[in-house]
């Protein structure tokens, strides 16, 4: 119980940290909206040239996809960098290991806190811009929203747990630029940032589904927009949870192993 309270505090601290830069938040929103309008233009034109429906998307549901994905952009980490990565490179992580909390849990809780806060000033306004400027089709029943909110939470956590994995490779690699770039190059495409994964040709979609990336953004949007419902939706959330468990476990193992190889120079 006590341990949970510590993580809750760290989560709140992450929220606080993010809320102290209002200009940064506004800037993010402007960039989000611009990309959203550009994505809307090309994707709705694609739906139009397919004759009104494309891979099950019509104008309203495609627009919902665009603006929800833009809204999640500030909360889901698609670029791969993190504070933890800096702390491992600088050796500050040695101090983290002395603290009476789990290093992995603390790092992920703080990042998830930042991500959750971003939903308020960045996520919801992005969706609102989409609703007002373009119009979106969303489900009329409460079910998809209840499960969808949970799915979004899991998606955000999967992304930060995955980025934590990149950070701990720094115990061995020191220079983590390469893995970050590698992550960045596939995350956007496979998470379904620019086009829904369901528009991919079969082989590419299969490749995407074999990675945790769709769990970060594509699946939560599918659940939230009611593209998958009922037992299927529960199944999708189950897949997300399985990825989360796997990524967390791997992170735990790597943290323990990395702790033994950690060498901090200087004194």
């Amino acid at each position: 119980m006590h341990a949970l309270r510590v993580y809750a505090r760290l989560l709140v601290a992450g929220v606080r940290r993010q809320s102290s830069y209002p200009l940064a938040t506004l800037a993010g929103l402007v960039a989000n909206a611009t990309f959203g309008l550009l994505k809307t233009g090309i994707l709705l034109a694609a739906v139009g040239s397919a004759g009104g429906t494309l891979a099950g998307y019509d104008v309203g549901t495609m627009s919902a996809y665009v603006w929800l994905s833009q809204g999640l952009l500030g909360s889901v980490n698609l670029w791969g960098g993190s504070d933890m990565m800096q702390r491992i490179r600088s050796g500050d992580v040695a101090i983290d290991f002395l603290r009476p909390v789990d290093v992995q849990g603390a790092a992920i809780a703080t990042d998830v806190g930042k991500g959750l806060f971003a939903l308020l000033p960045r996520g919801l306004p992005s969706v609102l811009i989409g609703v007002l400027a373009v119009g979106v089709t969303m489900p009329a029943t409460p079910g998809p929203y209840v499960l969808g909110v949970f799915s979004v939470l899991v998606g955000i956590t999967v992304s930060h747990a995955l980025v934590y994995l990149l950070a701990v490779t720094g115990f061995w690699l020191v220079e983590t630029r390469g893995v970050t770039v590698l992550y960045m190059s596939v995350s956007g495409l496979f998470a379904g940032l620019f086009t829904p994964v369901w528009l991919f040709p079969d082989w590419l979609r299969t490749a995407a589904e074999a990675t945790p990336f769709p769990s970060m953004m594509m699946y939560p949007i599918d659940v939230l927009t009611g593209r998958v419902t009922g037992a299927d939706a529960v199944g999708v959330v189950g897949v997300q949870l399985a990825w989360l468990a796997g990524v967390l476990l791997l992170g735990h193992v790597l943290t323990r192993a990395g702790r033994r190889t950690l060498e901090v120079q200087g004194g």
């Binding site: 200009l23 960039a31 309008l37 233009g41 034109a45 220079e175």
Partner: protein
Amino acid sequence: MADALARLAPYRAVLASRVRSQRSYRANFVLDLVGAVLIGLMEFTEIWVLFHAVDGIGGFTFAQILLVFGIADLTFSLADLVVGHCDSLPTYVRAGTLDVFFLRPQPVLLQLITSDISLRRLARATVGLGALVAGLVINDIAWDARSVALLAIALVCGVVMFASVFVTAAGLQFFLVNGAEMTNAFVYGGRYAATQPASVWPKAVVVVFGFVFPMAFAAYLPVTALLGLPGAPWLPSWLGWCAPLAAAWSVTLALLCWRWGVRHYRGAGG
């Protein structure tokens, strides 16, 4: 002439040292190059997926958009190579590096440009170059003086326009230190817009990326003129020949923003 060369000497020395320093960590350098190419390929895949799913978008086939993507991506990468790091001005401001630039007897903008040339960005340009060459081969282009001139104009003006956008962003970042992400809207948003057929844009986007930051002039309009395609509402294809005007406007906007920003700058203290 000799005088001009002598004045360039310090810049040449600085640039040569940057190139040497990047090649000294070989493994990381190779990984960096591979990563840069991979990012370019993924951006290309995003467009391919969309045009693979339907026959054509906004009056463009995949072969035709290949040409738009090639010109836009190549010119953006080249501009990024030269001035891309100006985008990290807030980092220089926070670290106080910028204050040092003001003390030296050289223009601040030129110092900023030569402060960091990343070779990985050159690798990134190969993706755009590949797409451009493929686009030129598979499209049915009547090769005469007119089309060669149009292509040359498009490439030169594209680099100038994107470089101007980076400098505009740097100028505005003097005001937006913590809100630097706002300039991403027209720097990276502009790059994204330049790879699209402008015919799919809503009116508001046409105003912003057709005229204020004239991204439609970087690739879309020259390609419509080159292939004899109809343009978009407000953007007729003959405007493809007006890319130099758009480039001149971009440069003006960039220099105004830069001067405005530098005058506003009061140092970070310390």
